[in-house]
Amino acid sequence: MNRRKFLQQSILAAAGTLFAPLFVRAIDGARRPNAGGKRLVVVQLSGGNDGLNTVVPFADDLYHRLRPNIALPTEKLLRLDDRQALHVQLAALKGLYDEGHLAVLNSVGYPDPDRSHFRSMDIWHTASAADEYLSTGWLGRYLESGCTGCDNPHHAIEADDVLSTALKGHVRSGFAISDPARLRRGLQNPVVQHLVEHHHGHEHEGNTAYLYKTLLDTASSVEYLAEKLRPKSRVLPSPYPNSFFAKDLRQVADLIAADCNARVYYVSLPGFDTHANQHARQDKLLGQLGQGLGAFVADLKANGFLDDTLVMVFSEFGRRVAENGSKGTDHGAANNLFLIGGALRRQGILNPAPDLAVLDKGDLPYQVDFRSVYATILRNWLGADDRAVLGHPMELLDFV
């Protein structure tokens, strides 16, 4: 037996002897976050999705003139109205549009747009202005100041192993979990497990106390979520496709169906940075997006959860209006954004298609500030104080 194998076994054996029931701070089902049962699902398209080939202004000559190689032909379009059409891979979203469960907001962005992925994503996550730097995310601050009763980290859940800035607060953050079994394994380390079981309460101060508290909260939430995720049968009107994105959405739906009292779920689909030969890549990704969301929404609807769910789909920026020399597009500015739900107050295309004749350095200027979208969701959907979370008043929209 080699040393590594041996060590592995001895640590597992040690784990075995300590496998007493995990001490878990009881999570009180009666104390529920006060958001009227509403929940938000954020879908982040990382890399800068080309919005103009997602919601296509097909009737605009400039679209075809500026994109001689990558403009989508008619057979790849699903018409929404006489100006805009969806990419053919988003057939599921066209269905939602027809049923009144989809809203499209055109030209969402912010003043002085930043064309760096990192910085622009940071701006979207922290809800800062382009010349302002914050270390907490808008949803983290919602947990801290906007969400009454949100005292467990799992009130905002990200399907990932690394928590996004969007869900980080000053002292309270969301909960990153891509695979409950993996987090559970992390707690099976016998030393960690012992500390969780035999926590003495108030013996620590300062950051030591903070680390122990985070550990205990994590143990409690992992147990809670693992219990919630125990397979229970429910009707799936359409099967989830086979992609990581769909698997993450499936887990979100499982948690919703299990009555996990999270208010916010966060899911990402990366890879949208299409500088060259955009068609193949974007077709594939939009296919994953459309099919994944299609199965997810059908699942929620069939099981009665769609009316309490709002999905927001965004990307850190859109892309340049004119194509580049490699049949792709470079980083741009304002972009369209999807809102999906069973209780939208306004559906369909909410504002005019972008005017491709009026550009700012070749990019779409913004018509709607993304922080107005956040403020509307916070106030009108989650029942939170948007000003406390965003730091200043924003114009409210009327989609919810």
């Binding site: 990192f118 730097y133 990153a176 960690v192 300062g206 950051n207 030591t208 550990l215 990581f244």
Partner: protein
């Protein structure tokens, strides 16, 4: 008491102690260790510049992977016991202060060298060098800052994040500073160039003073403000001493800093000697940054990462990618490093590395990678146990675990033996026991602190 103070000195103003340093200073005086640390920082050697690569990298899209490989290169230097830990720690501090994302590997290394060269020298020289650094000029758009079409990005951050702090200047001041820095530009090869034709040489009024100010004048006016010394002293206190600055001590230190003409080395030495470090609320209360955590393992405990990819992966998994700070405000640090997932990953790092079970983390894909299949990645690591045997060998009469507790943890008296004993005491074989002890200590929350 004195040794515990020396250990804290090494932890905060370096990356902890190697076994050799432990042996040396266990009997030595704090004052001598302090002298030694600062003496060692006088010799500054540059990191080697990688090949500049195609010039188009400056203007085109970032080549992410090669760029971030400069980070692992720097971590290996931090972990090299022959490099000055104080100098590297200060360079890391300035990387967070003058946060910047260079666009090419050779620019990243040049920027890092600029910081290191001035890290313990005059703040005036450092600030001017940063203002003339090609990476910073491009990161904060001074390349586009021209007479008649000024770009205020650099000016704003110069005032808000680099010197005065928010609320100590007006929007007009920003506009005037931007004008003073028009024409501060860089070549494609990464050299500073003052483009006189693009410079606005008219009169500017900055903080109430009017003149035909150039960038250098603005720096001098900023340094005349005591607020700048106060702002920097507070930030250094937070980095080295504790999260809650003591206003009286900070006022005194920043007064000395100002009077010294912004001698960084003197201020940092004043901080290193400051009794506040030994106040109970500051002992063992600093949450290690991911770089401090990993470099400490490499430098002091015999951990090795043969490939740069693994080091890059750890940076990403724990949330501190060198040369890619979250934004120009740098890493917030402290509690911000810790969330449910990062804490569990950190507590299980020892087990993952020593048991070769791989690190079970699905990390966010980079923006341009295809979205199809996020992979669990394996971190290649090795552990050289002779390093820890070397730690224990001079103390045959002492319990190995207790020596290791003293070596690894901020407070050896507060060790949770009840959690460690059941794991360690299963083993009698000294080697297996040794590695289980390392894993055990690394599984304690206290290991994350220093």
């Amino acid at each position: 008491m004195s040794f515990q103070r020396t250990q804290q000195l090494f932890a905060r103003f370096g990356f902890g102690m190697t076994p050799a340093e432990y042996h040396r200073w266990r009997k030595g005086r704090f004052e001598d260790a302090l002298d030694d640390l600062f003496k060692g920082a006088r010799r500054c050697t540059d990191m080697a510049l990688p090949d500049p690569g195609p010039a188009t990298m400056m203007d085109g899209e970032m080549e992410q992977k090669p760029l971030y490989m400069a980070g692992p290169q720097w971590m290996r230097r931090m972990a090299d016991p022959t490099a000055s830990p104080l100098l590297e720690k200060m360079t890391l501090f300035w990387h967070g202060h003058f946060a910047c994302e260079p666009r090419a590997p050779f620019l990243a290394v040049a920027y890092c060298n600029t910081l290191r060269k001035n890290a313990l020298g005059s703040f005036r020289e450092l600030l001017l060098a940063v203002a003339k650094d090609a990476s910073m000029i491009r990161y904060l758009n001074n390349q586009q800052n021209r007479k008649n079409s000024p770009n205020e990005n650099f000016a704003r951050e110069l005032l808000e994040l680099f010197t005065l702090g928010h609320g100590h200047y007006s929007e007009t001041d920003i506009k005037e500073v931007a004008r003073a820095f028009t024409g501060w530009s860089s070549t494609k090869g990464g050299e500073f160039v003052f483009r006189e034709k693009l410079h606005d040489d008219g009169e500017k009024t900055f903080l109430g003073r009017t003149g035909k100010w150039k960038g250098e004048d603005i720096v001098d006016i900023l340094l005349e403000k005591k607020r700048t010394a106060e702002f920097l002293t507070t930030k250094l206190w937070r980095f080295f001493v504790g999260e809650t600055p003591d206003p009286v001590a900070v006022a005194e230190l920043s007064g000395k800093f100002y009077a010294s003409g912004y001698d960084i080395g003197r201020l940092v030495r004043d901080l290193a000697e400051h009794p506040a470090l030994q106040r109970p609320e500051n002992v063992g209360d600093h949450i290690k940054s991911p770089v401090e955590l990993i470099v400490g393992l490499m430098r002091n405990a015999g951990f090795g990462f043969p490939d740069d990819q693994s080091l890059l992966f750890l940076q990403r998994a724990f949330g501190q990618v060198l040369f890619a700070p979250p934004n120009v405000a740098g890493w917030p640090g402290g509690k911000n490093w810790i969330d449910n997932s990062s804490l569990l990953q950190r507590l299980n790092l020892g087990a993952a590395l020593c048991l070769a079970s791989g690190l079970d983390i699905r990390i966010k894909e980079e923006f341009e990678s295809p979205g199809a299949s996020p992979q669990l990645k394996r971190v290649e690591a090795s552990v050289d146990l002779s390093v820890l045997r070397g730690l224990l060998s001079p103390y045959p009469t002492e319990t190995p675990e207790e020596v290791m507790a003293d070596f690894f943890l901020p407070d050896a008296k507060a060790v949770r033996w009840d959690a460690l004993r059941p794991v360690i005491d299963r083993e009698t074989d000294p080697e297996r026991r040794l590695i289980l002890t390392v894993i055990g200590f690394m599984s304690l929350p206290e290991f994350q602190l220093t």
